[in-house]
């Protein structure tokens, strides 16, 4: 698999597109950083605590709460932005890793090399995910502002990073699988992005609808939505905002617990979501492997035995 990963990285990093996306991402985030710096200078010190403070002086409105928790708020906004970038970019990279090879005819060479098709799919997933994460990592410098504002525990940073990695893996696997099952160059990438967007927005919208119609906050939908998982990664921040929503008496599903024998196990729901995204990504791989393998057992079962040697 290492041979596949290094080959994929060699191909991917020779293209111009990743560098263009890196530049765009960096430029956009530099603009956001400039805007935040300009805005923070105009915030009233009455609602804005000192630099480095982690609590706010009893804000009562939603806006003043966001300002008071400006470190976590900016962290959340940036995380959501990176999640959107992953949703748009990772399926394209995943799909291209198959469709480009098909176009230049080198997918046959890979299959002919004797590596298992599942191994090819896995190598491509790892390499394409690494390329997408490189683009996400280009946004890291702007998190210096969050660090200056303070209020984001390292546990939240780790949890959010895991969610982003898991979601990027899933989006890459989605693009890769769609391209493996379909044909063409642009269409599989577009289809992968559309599926990712539907999953992202559909689960978030479903959560909101469930709240509005009084069904409560659904833990299942949080586990399906990277947006909600990222928001709930900082439970205190999410609760503070939820408490200031008009007419909300909301209990957020921050943890999930289950019983095994006499022991009760508990895990942070955003962490479960991250693991779920990653597991789903790897679960898609056999489908991609089967799609690119002309000699998959399921495809030759009707031929096996025909004209066998005697």
């Amino acid at each position: 698999m290492i041979a596949i990963v290094s080959r994929e990285l060699l191909i991917g990093l020779r293209r111009g597109a990743p560098y263009a996306v890196l530049f765009l991402n960096t430029a956009l985030l530099a603009g956001v950083a400039a805007a935040v710096v300009a805005l923070s200078g105009s915030i009233s010190p009455w609602v804005a605590p000192g630099i480095g403070a982690t609590t706010a002086p009893t804000p009562d409105g939603i806006v003043s709460t966001l300002v008071a928790w400006r470190g976590p708020t900016l962290f959340g906004v940036l995380s959501l932005y990176l999640c959107a970038v992953a949703t748009l970019y990772a399926p394209v990279i995943g799909a291209r890793s198959i469709s480009y090879e098909r176009r230049v005819g080198s997918l046959d060479d890979l299959l002919g090399s004797g590596i298992r098709p599942l191994g090819i799919a896995l190598g491509k997933l790892v390499a394409a995910t690494a390329q997408s994460l490189l683009v996400l990592a280009s946004g890291t410098p702007i998190f210096a502002l969050v660090w200056i504002f303070g209020g984001v525990p390292s546990r939240v940073v780790v949890l959010s990073a895991l969610i982003l990695v898991g979601w990027t893996l899933l989006m890459t696997a989605l693009g890769l699988t769609v391209a493996a099952c379909g044909r063409g160059d642009v269409l599989p990438a577009a289809f992968g992005v559309a599926l990712g967007a539907i999953l992202l927005l559909g689960s978030t919208l479903g959560f909101v609808v469930a709240l509005v119609i009084g069904r409560g906050a659904s833990a299942a939908l949080v586990a399906m939505s990277p947006l909600l998982a990222l928001l709930l990664a900082n439970g205190e921040h999410a609760t503070a905002i939820a408490e200031r929503l008009p007419g909300a008496t909301l209990t957020l599903p921050l943890h999930i617990s289950w019983t095994v024998g006499d022991t009760i196990w508990s895990a942070p729901l955003p962490g479960v979501a991250a693991a779920g995204f990653a597991l789903l990504a790897f679960a898609l791989l056999p489908l991609a492997g089967m799609a690119i393998d002309p000699y998959h057992a399921g495809k030759v079962s009707h031929l096996a035995g025909a004209g066998s040697r005697t």
């Binding site: 290094s6 230049v104 046959d108 004797g114 096996a304 025909a306």
Partner: protein
């Protein structure tokens, strides 16, 4: 000790192989047996099914019917093991941005070659005469160099079976001779080679057996010399002396059906019979003291005559 020989599976064996594309039958009833160490040629016109056959033998495409065994391995049961036995060289495919040496390195690593990798690549580049192109992107290679690289890539893991799809296509005569020499060298190393060509002329002096593929069916299989002898092609004899004495000598000889003097030194003759008659004739010419520079079938006309052969078959 036992006197019974251990049965050795043919290097390549197909049984009732067929491939359909929708209603169109690209291959039908292909039964091939290629022994280990043999060079086997599949000759046919364009769209006769040669490339489809090669794609199936190289386990890149699934047949619609029949089965393929490579070194005794059923390709349906264990395609990975079968793939390890073969090296395939066709029209060069690959990442255009890779350099020649990168392409070979990547392919070698994919094939699990790690020990002595650099030496292997140097040897291969030397073998196919691409040393001076090693840092050139493969997208910028000439057609001939692309063929050479494709051949090198097929050999990178030292396979037992080498499949070559149209190895002489787009090659100039000098490069053809070089590739032919490489293939002869590989045979000496015990490799089994199956190649395709559009004319017998390309493979006549190289292959042990030649099959003629016509519209997806093998219509003829024999040694190239027999194939040429029965195809109605004339023998071309080039002499260091004037052709007059030879024409008189041949006129009285049984088995020679017609002669035609091309110029002062070149004569075409048509014979009735196979390679035995041909060999006897050559022996008589040598005994008769003729200064022979060339003696062989005028294979340049092979395509036309093979089409006729296919029609009669």
């Amino acid at each position: 000790m036992t006197d019974n020989p251990i049965p050795v599976a043919p290097a390549i064996e197909t049984r009732d192989l067929g491939r359909d594309y929708g209603a169109a039958r690209a291959l039908e009833g292909i039964n091939l047996t290629v022994s280990t160490g043999e060079i086997y040629g599949v000759v046919g016109a364009n769209r006769s099914g040669k490339s489809t056959l090669m794609r199936i033998l190289s386990i890149r495409e699934r047949p619609s019917r029949g089965s393929v065994f490579l070194a005794g391995i059923d390709t349906y049961r264990d395609p990975r093991a079968a793939r390890r036995q073969i090296g395939f060289a066709g029209p060069l495919t690959g990442i255009p941005a890779f350099t020649v040496v990168e392409e070979l390195t990547v392919m070698a690593r994919l094939r699990g070659v790690s020990v002595g990798l650099n030496d292997t690549i140097d040897t291969l580049l030397q073998l196919v005469d691409l040393e001076d192109q090693r840092h050139r992107p493969i997208g910028g290679l000439s057609a001939g160099d692309a063929r050479r690289l494709s051949l090198a890539r097929a050999l990178v893991h030292d396979p037992a079976i080498i499949l070559l799809d149209a190895p002489f296509e787009l090659l100039d005569p000098a490069t053809r001779s070089e590739v032919t020499a490489i293939l002869r060298e590989l045979r000496l190393l015990g490799k089994t080679i199956l190649l395709t060509a559009t004319s017998v002329a390309e493979v006549a002096g190289l292959c042990d057996l030649v099959a003629f593929l016509d519209r997806g069916r093998i219509v003829y299989e024999d040694a190239p010399a027999n194939l040429l002898a029965t195809s109605g092609l004339p023998l071309r004899i080039v002499l260091a002396e004037d052709t007059g004495r030879l024409a008189r000598f041949l006129g009285a000889r049984p088995g020679v059906t017609a002669t035609r003097i091309v110029d002062d030194h070149v004569l075409l003759i048509w014979i009735d019979g196979g390679t035995a008659v041909q060999a006897a004739l050559l022996a008589d010419l040598v005994a008769g003291g003729f200064a022979i520079l060339e003696f062989g079938f005028d294979a340049g006309q092979a395509d036309i005559d093979l089409t006729r052969l296919a029609q009669s078959a």
